[in-house]
Symmetry: C2
Subunit: 352 residues, 2 copies
């Protein structure tokens, strides 16, 4: 049975209602059903369902189209259901990441029937898991026309501030080779773990760059996120693999980011396992949006789906309620004040 969501009532009640419909990645159907049913009630919206993602659009023939997007899924529960309201904060799984943002977008979809620009609302599945399951990725691959827009707002938690662009991410394995031997005769081999010391030392001494774009400082990072060596308790390991995670400014292409890491470790095997470009802030292409949101833009350091819009040629920013550092924590919450501010500012921007 599909839960009836009251989109017309209040953003706090709606956030709680969304939290109370569990939607861990891969299990978004009940929430997608509820969202789809609620949106179909409004004649000013054309609604499409793709998998467990829902797209709702106005078709007013406005010269410009804006897109508001939020993912429906959450990380696994951590004893943080159902929702509760305390100290003017909505607590509970996904409250911050990002059912608060979804609630704001749903409120606008329901209550702004004649916006100043046409609007596309995208509520999508599987943001928290592998990229090829991501609902936005799937819509872009199979129904790109549904994502056509002049600018996009991704309602990821950003402290109700504007976080512009995002950094790219590169993951690579640095492989250090040695020669296996019995530890009782270790001089017969070469210990790959010992030989890995210079790699870790170089990472320790490396000073990442700070790159300013549109007045925003993107502070890069290069970190070992895993070190693996070991065959058995009495064997000199013949291989040590250091997995590094690079966060690079959106002005670098994936190729440049890869070259940067390779140049730092010229004498080692470097296997790039993943590289995704960032998104330039593109503030000059966002028109009056940033002004309307009334916040000084900050650079987004983590990777978000704004990069997918950048890849489609659509300027995008992150703007949503909630502290991003609370995402994925058991104690996540979203301040009521953020919910109201985000709704109010977007409503003002969209209203005649």
């Amino acid at each position: 049975m599909t839960v009836a969501l009251g989109l017309a009532s209040d953003v706090v009640a709606l956030t709680r209602a969304l939290v109370d419909i569990p939607s861990e990645s891969g299990h978004e159907a009940p929430l997608a059903d509820a969202v789809e049913a609620a949106l179909r009630a409004f004649p000013h919206l054309a609604v499409d369902r793709i998998g467990n993602s829902v797209v709702a659009r106005t078709e007013l023939g406005r010269p410009q189209r804006a897109l508001l997007a939020g993912h429906l899924d959450t990380v696994p529960a951590a004893g943080n259901l159902p929702s509760r309201l305390q100290d003017d904060r909505v607590h509970g799984l996904g409250a911050c990441d990002m059912k608060g943002g979804v609630a704001v977008a749903l409120r606008l979809a329901a209550t702004v029937p004649a916006p100043t620009r046409d609007l596309t609302y995208v509520f999508y599945e599987c943001e928290e898991v592998e990229a090829d399951r991501n609902g936005l990725h799937r819509i872009a691959a199979h129904h790109p026309e549904l994502l056509a827009a002049d600018l996009a707002v991704l309602m990821e938690p950003s402290d109700a501030g504007v976080e512009a662009g995002c950094q790219g991410v590169l993951t690579a394995d640095i492989v250090v080779r040695g020669e296996r031997a019995h530890t009782a005769r270790s001089w017969m081999g070469a210990n790959a773990a010992h030989l890995a010391a210079p790699v870790l030392q170089r990472l320790h001494e490396h000073t990442p760059e700070r790159i300013v774009i549109d007045g925003l400082e993107y502070r890069e990072g290069l970190n070992a996120v895993a070190v693996r060596a070991g065959v058995a308790g009495n064997v000199v390991p013949d291989e040590c693999v250091i997995t590094v995670n690079s966060r690079f400014a959106p002005s670098r292409s994936p190729e440049e980011a890869e070259a940067y890491v390779r140049k730092l470790f010229p004498e080692y095997e470097v296997h790039v396992t993943e590289v995704v470009p960032g998104a330039l802030p593109g503030l000059d292409r966002l028109g009056d949006l940033v002004t309307a949101l009334g916040a000084t833009p900050r650079p987004k350091l983590g990777w978000t789906d704004v990069a997918r819009f950048a890849a489609l040629g659509t300027p995008a920013l992150n703007y949503g309620p909630g502290d991003p550092t609370l995402a994925h924590t058991a104690g996540e919450y979203v301040p009521v004040e953020h919910l109201r501010t985000c709704e109010e500012r977007l409503r003002r921007w969209l209203s005649p």
Copy 2:
């Protein structure tokens, strides 16, 4: 049905017969049954069965008692069964480690009814697995009187040469701590993997000692055998654990071996997880045995059960057919010449 072993025939045929009764650790019963039944046929032997270990003793009232020991178990099969004889080598699982040595001891048990000293033969289970399952350990714990002897020969593969004593083994975890952070804001944390570089570098630069005892050089070793760090692909790890394996000369006590490692890493957490003492060569306590075996003693670098005899106060050496570096390899074999040499030399030592 118990397989009938022909102890009186030939050491090569007997080695093959032993290889052809599979006896991976924990599954020695059929082989122990066959060994027990074969030994009980000889009235000059008193036979005891403890678990899947078999002890056979002469009771001739000689002033001295020698002990010959070999383990019945093997590592898991690796497509190397049944046995085959090729190029004067017996190939097959356990041929080298150590059914060849067991065959030599069984031959002597059967065919030297009136040795110059009393003899205790120990054929034991579970040498290749955790220490508390080891048959020799269990006999020492529950029936120590069965192991009483003036000297012991452990028939581990030693190239038909004499390998005296053995080194001790210490295993310790060196823990390097940092502070967790999201890799997009890595400067908020401290990368434990990066901070581990000095530990690995120090291991790389460390020159283990060479300690001479009774004219034998025990070459020590200190190696990282495992490195583990990593929380998730986007998290700065807050802990890096380096497991080190130390091989220390038998002149050091476990306490001294531990102090040695701690002194090398004074600024890190060091958790000793295992330490077993080695065995001094004790050549002066072995009487005419070394001369009779006609080989120049070498130091044993790997740990073997001779250390258990040392702990009981019994001088012991390793002497057996087969190249020790072939142990645990799929291609292990034992040269026929080794089998015959070992049998002949021990027979000469034991015969009037």
